[in-house]
Symmetry: C2
Subunit: 358 residues, 2 copies
C-alpha cells in the first residue's frame, strides 16, 4: 500500500489541509467538515505520518527501555512493569537491546537523536564514555543501577549490600560455614556491587570461610562452569551464594552432576527471585530485589521528568527481601508446595532520596 497524505484527504473531501488536520485532531470544525474529512480519510485509508507529526509537534510519544541482557527474565519483568506505567500515560514503549552488536553508548547516542521522548537504561557496565553520553543526551534518561553522584541523573537502585547480607546471615543461621560466592563478571555494575555486598556481609561472621569465583556472564551455562570450579577443589563449600538466579540454577545443576544433594550437602541461593526459582527442585532460595517495583518507579520518574524537566534528580532505592526455599533449608527437604508460582515476599520498601539539581 502506498502512503496517503493529508493533502490527498483534503482534496478528496474538498477542504483545505488545515481544515482536514483540524477535523482529524478534534479541533473546532463544522459537523459537516468533520464528516466529510473522516469519510475521506476512511476511504483512502489515511494514517498520519509519524515522522512528520513528531517533527512538527516536537514529541514522538515513544519511550525506550534499553537493556543489555534480554535473556535474563528479570529484565522482562522490569519491562512489563515499565510498559504498564508508560502505556497508561499514552506512551508507546520500545525495547532497545544493547546486546549483540551495539554498546550501551551507541544506543544512548542513537536514542538521543529524537527517536524517543525519553529512555530508561539498564546498563551492565558504567564507563566514563557512557556517563559522557548520558550527560550529552538531549532527552530525559532514568538509569536502573548505580551511578556516581556526579552524574546527577534520576536513578533507581536495588540494595545489593542488604541483599547479600540477607543471604549470608540466613546461610550462617542455617549452620553453613564454608561459603563460595559465585559472582557474574566482576567488571559489571551488579558484579561489583554484589561482590562488595558479599564481602561486607561475611565480615560479620569471622568464623565463616569464603572463596570467590566469577562466571563469564550471568547465565545458567556460565554459572554451571563456575560452580564446577568452586566444587572441584579440595575445600568443598557447604553453601554457594550465586550473584543471580541463572547462575544459581547452574550451580544446582553442577552440584547434582557431582552427586551432591541440595540442600543436604550444599545450600544454594540466588538473586532476583525470578520465576525460574520455582523450576528447579528443590526451589531456589533467592533475594527479591523488587524488579517490578524498580521498573514501575523508573517509569514514574521518567514521566515526572518529562513533565517537569528542571526538577531535581531523584535516587530511589528499593529494599530487598529474602525468599527462602528448599535449596537452602537445613537438614530435611520440604515437600513440594504444589505450585510453581513463587512465594510472595513482603512488599519492598522505598527510600526516595532527593538531591538538588546541579
Amino acid at each position: 500500500m502506498a502512503r496517503v497524505t493529508i493533502t490527498q484527504v483534503a482534496a478528496h473531501a474538498g477542504v483545505s489541509v488545515a481544515s482536514a488536520s483540524r477535523a482529524l485532531n478534534g479541533m473546532i470544525a463544522s459537523a459537516e467538515t468533520i464528516a466529510k474529512v473522516k469519510q475521506a480519510a476512511a476511504e483512502l485509508g489515511y494514517v498520519a505520518d509519524a515522522t512528520a507529526q513528531s517533527l512538527k509537534r516536537g514529541k514522538t510519544h515513544q519511550l525506550a527501555y534499553a537493556v543489555a541482557d534480554i535473556g535474563n527474565p528479570v529484565y522482562v519483568e522490569m519491562m512489563s512493569a515499565i510498559e504498564r506505567v508508560v502505556s497508561a500515560s499514552g506512551y508507546r514503549l520500545v525495547l532497545s537491546s544493547t546486546g549483540t552488536s551495539s554498546s550501551s553508548v551507541d544506543v544512548v547516542r542513537d536514542l538521543g537523536r529524537g527517536y524517543v521522548d525519553g529512555m530508561i537504561l539498564s546498563p551492565l557496565r558504567v564507563t566514563d564514555e557512557l556517563l559522557a553520553a548520558l550527560a550529552a543526551t538531549p532527552v530525559p534518561v532514568v538509569v536502573l543501577g548505580r551511578l556516581p553522584d556526579s552524574a546527577n541523573l534520576d536513578t533507581v537502585r536495588a540494595d545489593s549490600l542488604t541483599a547479600m547480607r540477607l543471604v549470608v546471615d540466613h546461610l550462617v543461621a542455617e549452620g553453613r560455614r564454608h561459603i563460595a560466592f559465585v559472582n557474574g563478571p566482576a567488571d559489571t555494575t551488579p558484579g561489583t556491587l554484589r561482590r562488595e555486598g558479599f564481602a561486607a556481609a561475611v565480615t560479620a561472621h569471622p568464623l565463616v570461610s569464603t572463596r570467590s569465583f566469577s562466571a563469564a556472564d550471568f547465565t545458567i551455562a556460565a554459572g554451571y562452569a563456575a560452580a564446577r570450579d568452586a566444587l572441584d577443589g579440595d575445600h568443598r563449600p557447604d553453601a554457594i551464594v550465586a550473584a543471580n538466579d541463572l547462575i544459581g540454577i547452574g550451580a544446582v545443576r553442577a552440584a547434582e552432576d557431582l552427586g551432591l544433594v541440595v540442600p543436604d550437602d550444599l545450600a544454594v541461593t540466588g538473586v532476583d527471585n525470578t520465576e525460574l526459582t520455582g523450576v528447579v527442585r528443590p526451589g531456589l532460595t533467592s533475594v527479591d530485589l523488587g524488579a517490578e517495583e524498580r521498573g514501575r518507579v523508573a517509569a514514574e520518574l521518567l514521566l515526572a521528568r518529562i513533565a517537569e524537566p528542571a526538577r531535581p534528580a531523584h535516587t530511589v532505592a528499593v529494599a530487598p527481601s529474602l525468599v527462602i526455599r528448599g535449596s537452602s533449608a537445613s537438614g530435611i527437604r520440604p515437600a513440594g508446595t504444589g505450585s510453581t508460582a513463587r512465594d510472595t515476599p513482603a512488599g519492598p520498601d522505598l527510600i526516595d532520596d532527593e538531591r538538588a539539581a546541579g
Copy 2:
C-alpha cells in the same frame, strides 16, 4: 541538554547549512569546510535530529519486531537472530511488545505510521481485523506463523504437523499408549496448529488412547494447572505431550508433586527446544522448531522486500527436529550429561515456496 540544530552548527562554522550538511554526510566539500564543520559540531555536541532526517529521506533505518509473549524464551532467541541480520545491514531493531496493553492490531497500525521501515510480526492470534491491518500497512511486513494464502505476505512457518508427528511417533516407539495432549489456548495460531498436528499424528497409531487439555496460556504456571487436570482423572496417561517447553516444565512439576517419577511413570515432551529443557531433571525431550533459523530467514525476507518491494511473496517453512532427553526415555534414566547446554539437533532444512504476487 538542549537540542542543537544544523543551523547553529553552520553559523558556528561560518558556512551555510547546506555546506554543513554536506560536510557532515561525507559529500563533496573542501577539506577546510569539513574541518570547520566537524569541529563546530563537536564543540556544540550536535547530533542530527532523527525525525527531521527521516521525514526528509523517507527512511527511518529502524525495523521492528513485534511479539506478543516476550516472556517466552523462544521469542528472545528469534529476536537475537533477527537482530544479528538487520544490524549487519545497518538497521536498528526495536522490539514492540504487543502484550499487556495493546493488541497486535494496534501495534501493526501504529508501526505502519512511519516509525519503522519494516516489521516482523509474531502474532499469537490471526483475526480478520489483523489481516485487514496487515493488508493496509504501508510498510513491508514479514509474518512469523501461519496465514491464509489470500494474505499474500512474506511468511516464515514452523512445521507443526511434522513436529507433533515426531513426538508422538517417538513416544509410541518408547512404548507409551495413553497420551495426554496439553495444549496452550486453542484459539491461538500455535494452539490450533499443534492440536491439528497432534490429532493427525495419533491417527497413525489406532491402539493409542488420547485425551486433550488446554492450558490458559503458554506458561509454566498454566501448564502446571492443566497437567494436574490431566493427571488427576481416573485414566492416568503414561505420557504428556506439551504444546511448548514452558507447559512441559509445568507438567513435569505437576507429576513430581503427585509423586510420579519422570520418565518411569510418565514421559513428558515439549516444543521449541529452549534452553530451559536443560534446567529440569531429567532433561525435557523437545522438538526444535528452528527458532534461530526462522528469525534469520524472516529478517532476510524483510530486507529483500525493502530492497525490492514488488517481488513475489515468499513462504518459507523450517523443518523441525526431535531432541530426545531423559524425560521421555523408557525404563532407565540416563546419567546427567555434565552440561546444561542443550543437545545440538541436526540443522533444520528449508523449503522455500515462492508464489506469484497478487
